[in-house]
């Protein structure tokens, strides 16, 4: 201790040579009781120094973390565990279904989904309950888009637009444009009058077309005519070729 109040007067080393001499004299071996005690203290110091260093080396992150940090860490782990367990049970369920259940259950499920997707993608022909809407007179692309949107909202699963000779299947990527003699749908020029064939529930589809401001109104105000017929066998024969992937 440099600052303890010794009863003696300080006699600071006047030169660095003297300072070095004093250091050497103090460090030189002496035989005295306190020297032994000091040595023991230094052994203890070295021992505890290494102990403290090696003790702080392992998992010091957790040991030095605050309680709130530890709580949030624990919380995090608990949440992750719950998430992983939920995923685990879901996957085990799926595994059991695939292994233990009907041998063809998985295959049938996959086929069913493929059929659904084929209808939506327009890659397969389809015959079913629905309506046919014949439109004559002036028809603009925007009117047609509005009508198609309404039909889709009303649950139409497949839509086809045709004139006397050509038919176009509507899918997600279809587009419309005005043309001098009628309407261009996805690059195919159709001549008025056209027919929209829709597969879906007729009791929902027909109101969707007849609502005020809908297809019937806007075509009628342009001097055209709309004719709606319900059928059990609406034939949608146009398909969209699947892109080669």
């Amino acid at each position: 201790m440099g600052s303890h109040s010794a009863p003696r007067r300080a006699r600071p080393a006047r030169t660095s040579a003297e300072a070095r001499f004093r250091l050497r004299r103090t460090l030189s071996p002496q035989r005295s009781g306190t020297q032994v005690v000091i040595t023991v203290l230094f052994i203890a110091l070295g021992f505890t120094l290494t102990a403290a260093i090696s003790g702080s080396a392992n998992d010091s992150i957790l040991a030095n973390a605050r309680q709130s940090d530890l709580v949030s860490l624990l919380d995090d782990l608990a949440q992750r565990e719950a998430r992983l367990q939920a995923e685990n049970s879901r996957l085990e369920n799926a595994r059991e279904t695939l292994l233990g259940g009907d041998e063809y259950a998985a295959l049938n499920e996959a086929k069913r989904r493929a059929d659904d997707l084929a209808v939506l993608a327009g890659s397969e022909t389809i015959i079913g309950t629905g309506i046919q809407v014949s439109i004559s007179g002036n028809l603009t692309a925007s009117t047609l888009i509005d009508a198609i949107q309404e039909l889709r909202d009303a649950g139409a699963s497949a839509i086809q637009i045709s004139d006397r000779g050509l038919a176009v299947r509507l899918v997600a990527s279809s587009w419309f444009a005005d043309s001098p003699s009628g309407i261009t749908v996805s690059g195919t020029a159709l001549q008025v009058p056209i027919t929209i064939s829709v597969i879906g529930d007729p009791s929902v589809l027909i109101p969707a077309i007849e609502i005020p401001g809908g297809l019937v109104d806007s075509v009628g105000s342009g001097g055209g005519e709309v004719e709606i017929s319900e059928s059990q066998n609406v034939d949608i024969s146009a398909i969209v070729p699947l892109p080669n992937s």
């Binding site: 440099g2 300072a19 000091i38 230094f42 505890t48 120094l49």
Partner: protein
Amino acid sequence: MIPAIGLLVGIVLGLLLQPTVPVWLQPYLPIAVVAALDAVFGAFRSVLDGLFNDRIFVISFLSNVLVAAVIVFLGDQLGVGSQMSTGVVVVLTMRIFANVAAIRRHLLKA
């Protein structure tokens, strides 16, 4: 010289035995070590000041360690253990720096 050898012996012993620090001792050990280091540097300084007294060194060494541990223990009981140990370490480190600076001035006159 013998205490220096003792320090080396202690370090070698610690490395060889790989002691595991008891959990209740873990917060106090680093503080005690820093306090002891402060006493050692203070001793070197007092040697150069011509004030060194080995009896005083032994007492200051032990009391330094004890007081540091007691302060941290008190902080633990008061619920401010980590802040208290930080404070003790800061103070002791400042003293070590001051002592080392004094030693440097003595030896190098700079």
